[in-house]
Symmetry: none
Subunit: 290 residues, 2 copies
Amino acid sequence: MSKPAPSVRELIREHYSALTQSERKFANSLLENYPAAGLASITIVAANADVSTPTVARMVQKLGFKGYPQFHQALLKELEAQVSGPTKRRENWAAEAPEGHLLNRFAQAVTDNLGQTFSNLDYEQFDLAVQQLANTEGRLFVVGGRITRALADYAFTHFQAIRQRVTHMTSSSATWPHYVLDMEAGDTLLMFDVRRYETNLQRLAELAAERGVKIILITDQWASPITSVAQHTFNCWVEIPSAWDSNISTMMLLEAMIAATQEEGWDETRERYERLDELFDMTRLFRKFS
Amino acid sequence: MSKPAPSVRELIREHYSALTQSERKFANSLLENYPAAGLASITIVAANADVSTPTVARMVQKLGFKGYPQFHQALLKELEAQVSGPTKRRENWAAEAPEGHLLNRFAQAVTDNLGQTFSNLDYEQFDLAVQQLANTEGRLFVVGGRITRALADYAFTHFQAIRQRVTHMTSSSATWPHYVLDMEAGDTLLMFDVRRYETNLQRLAELAAERGVKIILITDQWASPITSVAQHTFNCWVEIPSAWDSNISTMMLLEAMIAATQEEGWDETRERYERLDELFDMTRLFRKFS
DNA sequence: CACTCCATGAAAACATTTTTCCAAACTTGG
DNA sequence: CCAAGTTTGGAAAAATGTTTTCATGGAGTG
């Protein structure tokens, strides 16, 4: 062979945009359980993905196979090569990137960080913090530092969809005193502070704490000094082989909190989501006619 | 099941003495290339082992299967279980949270997404995209949608530290035409577009593409329509049990790109980092601490 | 040497899978 | 709101796979 014969995975990726909805349904089902989900008969495989047999048949032809048997055979060859190949049992992840490629090193570091973060997470504190975030009696303020501003922004966008009375404190610290002036006991302040810790944020935290605001702090494994005035502190592991720190575990914790908060007050939230959707649809309509 | 269902390997070992010569021939062929050599049709499998189909049929019955299809299915189940093995490593995580706690469900979904994203990543395209991002001959524009704005912001913050001539196009699409006016062939546009895909972004992409700008698109598994005009497209798996989509895998891909870009031009970057550090120290806005 | 036993595969009978065709359901653009 | 174009799955037709039957021939035995 002159060409190294692309894997079925690659073929799917390559043709994904040309696939129809049902075909993608099958493609996803296959990728989720690869390659086992493609090694049974077309009937079974189709039933597992909850699509019809013709759909699968059409799709494998789009991928360039003459028919399902050829597709089946290609998967089998891959499996064979994988098992008997020089690399005995490669990790499922990043299987295609060469050994030592940055992607592999990066993936390793990230998985470690996520694992560390999770196993150091106190789920009771998590639940308490979520209750606090879901409590709409007080207002919710969100703020981040130089790097974590983006996370604060992300948090704001989502919390705004979930609940009312959310404020994103811009990272320009000059305006913070105005916000503090508004804060009352019972309000919540969600803060992000990773190294290098910012004195501004600490001052802000102290002022807010004095006013009886409950502070939820998301920081790194070395813990920002804000810990001392925060109600709930969560540490995220952030080290990667790089000059800067990774915020993936931070992001994960944040998303988990958003998901939990949403679940906490689902009835209220659902209504907000539906209204929001309608509004977006309306703006789309405007655009259509312009 | 009360019985742990013995593997086909075990069954062969157990019944080996009862097998005839030709049957052993097939058994050995299977064990040599396990389980792939047993996952094709009985005809092919028999031909590969250089025995007749009835031999194989008789043998699988001796092993206790009703027929070849049942044998095939058993092998498939084993394969499936084997593959989902490594994912189970997550069980070490969040061991303290109760079964079914949101944290556990969330962790599962996130790990799946990261795994999917990684294994569908084309590392050659990744390397090419990184080269493009590290190329300071042209300018680098960054833009995101309603939700991904935060990611674009994060990207901007980091790329600004790494290289010169980086622009964050604010999410207010009214100002985009001004940016497009400035774009030239050789410039790079890093776009984030996850569902629901935004028509504004698509228009922007089309305009930029017309001007010869290279577009790097980070999207979800269903692929934004921008794909068609983008130089490099990367798909991130984003589904979580929730009303919204997770952007952790998106963030991971982004960070990986940042890390790789930084490595690409490290000499230049290091100097920038040092100068940046000095500047922060001078403003005393940030307290130095490791 | 003749007889029996039984492993073996060719081929027929049977079962299932795969493909093709078509009509219904859905989308999209005017 | 309609019409043209897609997408989708049901069902029949074609192809393939699986099982059974049975004839052959080799190994062991009296």
